[in-house]
Amino acid sequence: MMPEPRARGRGRPRRDTVSNVCRGVVAALAVTLAASAASAHHAVSAKFDEGRKASFDGIVTGVDWRNPHVHVFVNVEVEPGEVENWAVELESAALLEKSGWRRESLRPGDAIAVEGLAARDGTRQIWAQSLVLSATGRDVLHVRDTAPIAPIAPRPTPRWPDGTPMLGSPDTRDGYWGYPTETALVEDGVAVAMRPDGLLEDIGDAAKVAPLQPWALGLYVHRQSRGLQDDPIFLNCKPPGGVRHFQSPLGVQLIEDRDAQRVFVLMGSGNRNYRIIYLDGRAQVGQVGGDDDNPLYYGRSVGKWEGDTLVVDTIGFNEDFWFTEGGLPHTDLLQLTERFSRPDFDTLRYEVTIDDRGAYTRPWTASWELRWVGGEDLPVHFCQDNRS
């Protein structure tokens, strides 16, 4: 028998009805969700108010299983005979599927209890921190994706016959790089408390993050103080340009075309974008005939091997996007020097030097590692799928 839907009141905290144990579980789940927030299409705080908890019980009327965010629609009886339809927003279909969930995990007619964060604009939307099937008490549709466990003894770096490290899969089958150890840019050696989506815990730390020019610091603080809600990747589905694709848990795939002397960087985030790194010694003009009048989201990249490190130089960025999570500004003077190395089979070390005299007072460097995800192809993720 379908449970009778029972309103708990829009936006009304339900703490009086939740035991300490349950609160602990919810808190732990919230941490799990927060840890995955950098993968989200937008920072949670961009759209939802972290200071305004909301909860309700209701009946599922539909499940929109799409990227960048899955939505569950729920009928909630707010007063006897008065029903409101709410949209419950969740992580991307790509991440939920990696966590073992399917669109059939929740079906129309299911009775559920939802706890989460209310929308900033007061609309009937909630970011789910907990979604529980009333009939079974089972917590569903949460992200529980974790990086593959590293072997106790590191596997050796795969190499081409000439000894050059391979950047992709040694058998040319599936596999990609994901689970970056850093998901937002901070200068190496700087310690600041920052969420995975790049939001500073203390806005007073803004000047420590990177050597920002005064205007760039002001703009960074402005973006941070607005909860990153102006991020073009959220508002306009802009590509994850600059270094941003190397910070996405949805990963990157590096395909080496040795004959054509180029590396294709395929992206799990964004809209299955790609970027080409030319290794053939060409001038940094990119497209045939050059593209000086067509600045790019990924710039123009040329690279060469220095020992076991691929060094890539990129210029020609446009200013239409945020080049990292968290809203650090850049200008079209941005030049990136990226260094890729694979110290063992399962580790990709990524180091980037940011040289942008338009926004920063000096060049600065950040580095992190990505983990090999074998036997899988890149997750499918298109930002435009449910833009409405």
Partner: protein, 146 residues
Amino acid sequence: MTHSTFLTTKRAVPSAARAAALIGALALAQWMPAGAQEGHPLKGSWLGTWKSNDTHGENVLLVLDWNGESVTGVINPGTDNIRISEATLDPDRWVVRIEADAEDRSGRTLRYVIEGRIENLELANRSIVGTWENGRGGGAFEASRQ
């Protein structure tokens, strides 16, 4: 191209034609969405009005750029071609100050000073709202990024 060449060009074009060009640009801009601009907040084209400007008309177009050290640009390019001599941005309050030397019809130098605040900083079509003066007159200034 020298400043005097600009002036020669300016005088060769009837005032009505110049006004029509600016009004046309203004009308066209109403139909064009502002291009994204996530870099320096002043960079881009700004279209609006400096009210009560009897010398250079009430419609105004600023084209601003950022070279990493300073803001450069021109006011009413193609018509008045008033080069900006200095532009500053206070990122604590987002106050803009622009200075530019122009000439009136008799060749007398006018020093324009525009001072305003950037509003809706996060939007591509952000605005500068404030005042202008040139030693002979002044009034309200407002321009939106195109």
